[in-house]
Symmetry: C2
Subunit: 370 residues, 2 copies
Amino acid sequence: METNSSQTQQPSIVAPRIVFTNHVPEAIDSMVEQLGNPPVYVLMDVNTQAFVMPLLQAQSSAVAKATAIITKAGDMNKNLEALSAIWKQLSDSNASRNSVLINVGGGLVSDLGGLAAATYKRGIKVINIPTTLLAAVDASVGGKTAINFNGIKNQIGVFNEPEAVIVSTMFFNTLPQQQLLSGYAELIKHGLLDSTETLDELLSFSVVYPRFNSEALMKVLEDSVMIKARYVRQDFTDRNLRHALNLGHTMAHAIEAYGMEVLSPEPHGYAVAWGLVLELILSQMELGLDDGIVKKLADYVLTNYGAFDIIPQIYDKLIDFMRNDKKNTSPDDINFTLLRRVGEPVIDCSVSSDRIKTAFDTYRTLMKLA
Amino acid sequence: METNSSQTQQPSIVAPRIVFTNHVPEAIDSMVEQLGNPPVYVLMDVNTQAFVMPLLQAQSSAVAKATAIITKAGDMNKNLEALSAIWKQLSDSNASRNSVLINVGGGLVSDLGGLAAATYKRGIKVINIPTTLLAAVDASVGGKTAINFNGIKNQIGVFNEPEAVIVSTMFFNTLPQQQLLSGYAELIKHGLLDSTETLDELLSFSVVYPRFNSEALMKVLEDSVMIKARYVRQDFTDRNLRHALNLGHTMAHAIEAYGMEVLSPEPHGYAVAWGLVLELILSQMELGLDDGIVKKLADYVLTNYGAFDIIPQIYDKLIDFMRNDKKNTSPDDINFTLLRRVGEPVIDCSVSSDRIKTAFDTYRTLMKLA
């Protein structure tokens, strides 16, 4: 078998190249050149278009020449209509299989653009440029792309790693404090999954203005992204080991669902912060996790995020929300990822509702609610 | 890192298990049992529902218990609306990530169902059961899934190999002769890509009733599917070596496009048969392929498929259609996969329009049109 072509074979699961830099325009131009200067499409939402696009267009020749695709902001617009509109714009402008889509924005843009790119002509290349701390640490690595469908979050999607991710703190200066804290909760989660050193570094650092130090944040962010990438690499399609990344999230989803129901929605990262405290309490009860760690985390969360008030009257309600979580296999117990020690997650831990209620009581004490 | 779960990691590119059998109901039940008796969904079009479903429901307990999803027949229904309807039925019936979708039918069903399954909850397992010869040899192996979009065939899709393929000749007895011949052209293409032994076996065999021998057909079909699987394995995402499978198809697509324009569409496999004759003529001209092979194929095609009349007045028209083919990189020459010898394809061969016209002249002579 001969070939006159010099193209090389490309597997569909590849570890993405992650570049940490505050020289984003230069990084884009260098990557596009290394890819052989293919046609470039840039996806962003209307907010990013207003705040970030002028800078990138002025300083990156690849972005200046690119075709912009603009999508509506907000999770309610992460839907089939938006996906189909991106496909149509790629198709109308004759985007070829060699084209590259650059997703600039938060998780909405990388989820939506990642799915559009993975399915357009059976897959074109993607570069992710997260502009929020949450997207930088969570949505830009791991290959999860999705849209909401039929009333269910992330119901339709594929696993598809981007070709590259450019991680920067240059976009964070204008983020509201609440958004910074929201993303920081995921960093703390990664610290808990890694080591006491990483955790202590994170808990001694304040992400909040005016103490926010861009260089120091870049350093902890880099550590955190690499911790996540390590877990993802071991279980790309999220069948087992990758469930470790759910730490804190079973409780967090219940808090978020309750917040929606009483029309007082909590920011995702705040729910994760409280969920981490709750699941560390369970880890102490079920797996003997050191008391000191639980106390230290509870203090940090209380100081920076305040306390979500879990009054005894809503204990059953929260447990019901957890029971409906798609990850549960048994109808009675609730499935959690817990910690035996910092850096030692144990997935698929079943906990009874009585034990969960005991954890709620302890949470009330630690968070000074009782 | 510990896990309480016994699930194993699943890579997203796997060679599918291909089972050749005429005991299809038993094969389904055995596969579903090996997968741990997950919830089963069966996708088919309205024709397959009428002709094949009663048999499978009566003889397979897995199909009897399965949820049926029915889609409209015909390539014009391989669209986003049909895809979305499948997603909705999976979602409404709470299909989990462990569910299995069995696609029973022709290329429409495996393309559409394959894409639905690859994207529902970021991927559920697929078993393909092709019911036409064309689907058995072409669409059931190779992982190409797609829908038509924005007026372009297969514009949206992913590469996703099925978990398993059950290849059988039991559904072919009721196929019209034209459909059998249409599929057989792809077998001949695989013979040309393999060896003179395989090619001679195929050309000495008649797929057409009443001489059609089910066991003999199963044998050549098995060889053919394995030849395709071998090419696919070397280049899953169709960047280079897999282009060999385009043999005959550049000419075939031009003949099909012309047929559509003059409202006299040619069956795909017939266009492939004539395309193979034309591209073997080019192979002789450009790469010195043996004259005898060209003559032998032309005789077989003329006897079984008749001759598509390429009159000199449409030479330029056909070349224009080829020029617009998405696979071309240069605006002047046309890109072909050609053969140096049987079993030795050469991809990315550029041929000038003058040389192509000479090949049309030779075709007219060989096919007794001049």
